[in-house]
Symmetry: C2
Subunit: 461 residues, 2 copies
């Protein structure tokens, strides 16, 4: 018996399909038996032959029923899907809700209100007006964007390369993943310690040995990796994160000569916020001092536009470019074409340079303001590292350890950031009492209020 | 001697910096010697003390010179960067310039002129108007987008999941990379053969064993992987690529029960163009028939909007979600926040559904038109596979093998696509004579012209 009614919700064909499917799954309509002919079924149910035809076609296309010329519709054998008792999934415990902070010195938050939004909106609208952004581009990224990046790198970072050697990707993580996948020969991935070391985890997962290398006053030390080959050394020479060291020329030369001494060594120069320096002109890149094509250069628009943009670039030495070109890996560019097109216009029409200059001036002033406010501590809070970026690393000399500094600040409604998570092991004693204060996303009022609260937390005990 | 001139090109401070740096690098100004005081240098060169100060500061910040209170500026020891003779890089040979085709049956080209550009442009402009798109979102992707995707999946694919189990990523490649990195326990990655097998290369690089599994008339066969565990089986049940098979329910049940029989087995259901079916309603997903939370569901906006959008999603079973939540890997969402926000509006304001319905109608007609045109071959060209997607797989029964089919078509100015590259080894004999014809990006005139040319190439011999 079939009860089909035109209830305005489920089409008649769907109702018939549902009823029949249920009968087949439940075994009421047995495998090997035949369904009534379409005409008979139509008569039986009072719907049109067309409706029956649609329902039967759906059952056939899903494999519940088979059809052969002259022998009609036969029910297929469908085993039930077994249900097993699952090993109980280990659910992560719910993290406690974050405290709501009055002032958050988040080092990764950019000054979004400084960005020329209306310009971006206009360029974006221009790009959307044609259909070009719906067509896939080359896997290295749009040629026009790579040309614009090459021109920018040549003028601002003394990085002279060809668009052919540039790969556009959705940020440093994504480009490092690609690099780690490309290098088959199990390179030792040596990295500065402290560092954003999820990257090391990435290389480890892909089977590369990893090695953490301590940082001294000049930056990453070379001794622990002296003999390694093949090897990659990951470094942030312009502005060590999170210590803020700018690597002097002597150390740079040492690194370059270490590379040159064996065939399979590369430096990965992560130049993440080299554009934001306040004391002098940006320091030339490691890449520009190289004579042997051994520096893999990484840059990003995260600090200059926003991390939410998800665009970075990697300059590959010639030998690695060959590896890339011939790789059987899926390596399509993972940045949307539309965004690449908008960014290209933003660069070649001069808006980026203008924005960068303004941003640098703005951050310099904000940084100066924060330093001034910190004067209230007397010598108790001392800024360390170079004048660069949109955060300050400070040493708090009140005897508190990192956890105490964070907790007492939180009790006053202020969030400051630890540096210990960036060490691969236990943080050495000498770094105790250091915390990060990001100022990029804060107004002067917020900075003043934040410092006053920190004063209550750290000085008035 | 210093020759500094105000030539309007290089600032005086930069000229002085360049001269001094050159002297230090060349050894003319020896390590350990002192630079003249700022005042003396200013007198010597005729520039201001401020200018000298800038040049000195730059040299200090780059480590060429060190400064100490009361002892002035001392030149540092800088070793020369050694230049080594590199093993000659093996440059890829330049590929011959592609022939310019009159008609290109590109299966990956969507119907870009069908996309509601002005809607996207407007939504995009709305998103750019506020600064929210410059703020980083959660690593799984924007919550609103995940909610919209969950609602869409429930209504269109019978995939019922929570936003918490959805990961937004820049397409299938990128999401599979993440999955391969997440699974530490060396899962065997079994994949349908033929397949887009660069994905297998990805799993292999990360250390997972891989295994190609033949496809019969019902889709992927289970026998070769019967005992494997832990294991993943990658499959395209709705529309096998490139053969076009829609997996019937019996086979689906077999796969699901294979999974249920061991603790560490998962199916990866790549539902890449399930939305584009023309004969009946879309076939329910494998995910919807699962009772044991063992299906990893992959979807993408590549076929419905464009591959250039670079957005896809992955639904993770609960156990893998826990793995994801606790992973120490860098897993930030790699889709720009702005694009996520525009796409969210496109989905929840109903534009996507409208577009999809129109696109389906358009493709159905285009496909019908192509089939009609192919009638001129009589029975020589036979379409195979289900009526779905924006390409047709055809069997050409004129005795030509794949290479001959491609070459003779190219000689008439038409590009058609081979299926042999999708086989992991030698293509079995039974698939000879099959080629792909994409019709998504072609007008009727182009289809007619293309088929006429194919007729000259394949039938008139």
């Amino acid at each position: 018996m079939y009860y089909l009614t035109d209830d305005g919700k489920t089409t008649l064909y769907r109702q018939l399909y549902n009823v029949l499917r249920e009968k087949i799954i439940s075994g009421e309509q047995k495998a090997g038996t035949k369904l009534p002919s379409k005409r008979a079924m139509a008569a039986q149910t009072g719907v049109s032959v067309n409706t029956v035809d649609s329902a039967y076609a759906q059952l056939v296309s899903e494999g519940y029923v088979s059809v052969k010329p002259k022998s009609g519709y036969t029910v297929c054998r469908i085993d039930p899907v077994q249900s097993v008792r699952l090993t109980k999934a280990v659910l992560p415990e719910k993290k406690p809700e974050p405290t709501c902070y009055a002032v958050d010195f988040d080092p990764s938050r950019p000054a979004v209100d400084r960005f020329p939004q209306s310009v971006w909106q206009r360029l974006s609208s221009q790009v959307c007006a044609s259909a070009d952004w719906l067509l896939s581009g080359p896997r290295q990224g749009d040629l026009a964007l790579r040309q614009a990046v090459a021109a920018y790198l040549a003028s601002s970072r003394d990085v002279h390369t060809r668009p052919e050697n540039i790969i556009i990707g959705s940020g440093t993580q994504s480009l490092l993943t690609m690099l780690a996948l490309l290098l088959e020969n199990r390179y030792t991935f040596a990295f500065e310690d402290p560092v954003y070391h999820r990257c090391a985890e990435l290389f480890a997962r892909i089977g590369h040995p990893t090695l953490s290398v301590a940082v001294d006053k000049q930056g990453v030390c070379l001794d622990p990796i002296g003999d390694l080959s093949p090897a990659l050394l990951y470094t942030t020479p312009s502005h060590q994160f999170p210590l803020g060291i700018c690597m002097p020329m002597q150390r740079r030369v040492k690194l370059l000569n270490w590379c040159a001494a064996a065939d399979d060594r590369y430096l990965i120069e992560d130049d993440y916020d080299s554009e934001l320096r306040y004391d002098a002109r940006p320091v030339p890149s490691l890449f520009s001092a190289d004579r042997n094509d051994r520096v893999i250069y990484l840059g990003t628009f995260s600090s200059t536009v926003s991390p939410a943009l998800r665009v970075g670039y990697m300059v590959l030495p010639e030998r690695l470019r060959s590896l890339y070109m011939e790789s059987p890996l899926p390596l399509s560019c993972n940045v949307p074409v539309s965004e690449q097109m908008v960014l290209t216009r933003f660069l070649i029409e001069g808006y980026f340079e203008k924005h960068l200059n303004r941003l640098r001036t703005y951050y310099r002033k904000q940084r100066g303001f924060l330093l001034e406010e910190l004067q209230c501590f007397g010598g108790m809070v001392e800024p360390i590292g170079e004048a660069a970026g949109s955060h300050l690393t400070v040493k708090v000399k009140n005897g508190m350890k990192e956890t105490a500094l964070l907790q007492s600040a939180a009790a006053e409604g202020v969030r400051v950031y630890p540096i210990s998570p960036y060490f691969s092991g236990q943080m050495p004693q000498k770094y105790a009492g250091k915390v990060l204060l990001g100022f990029g996303g804060l107004s002067r009022e917020e900075i003043r209020d934040g410092v006053a609260r920190l004063y209550r937390a750290w000085a008035k005990r």
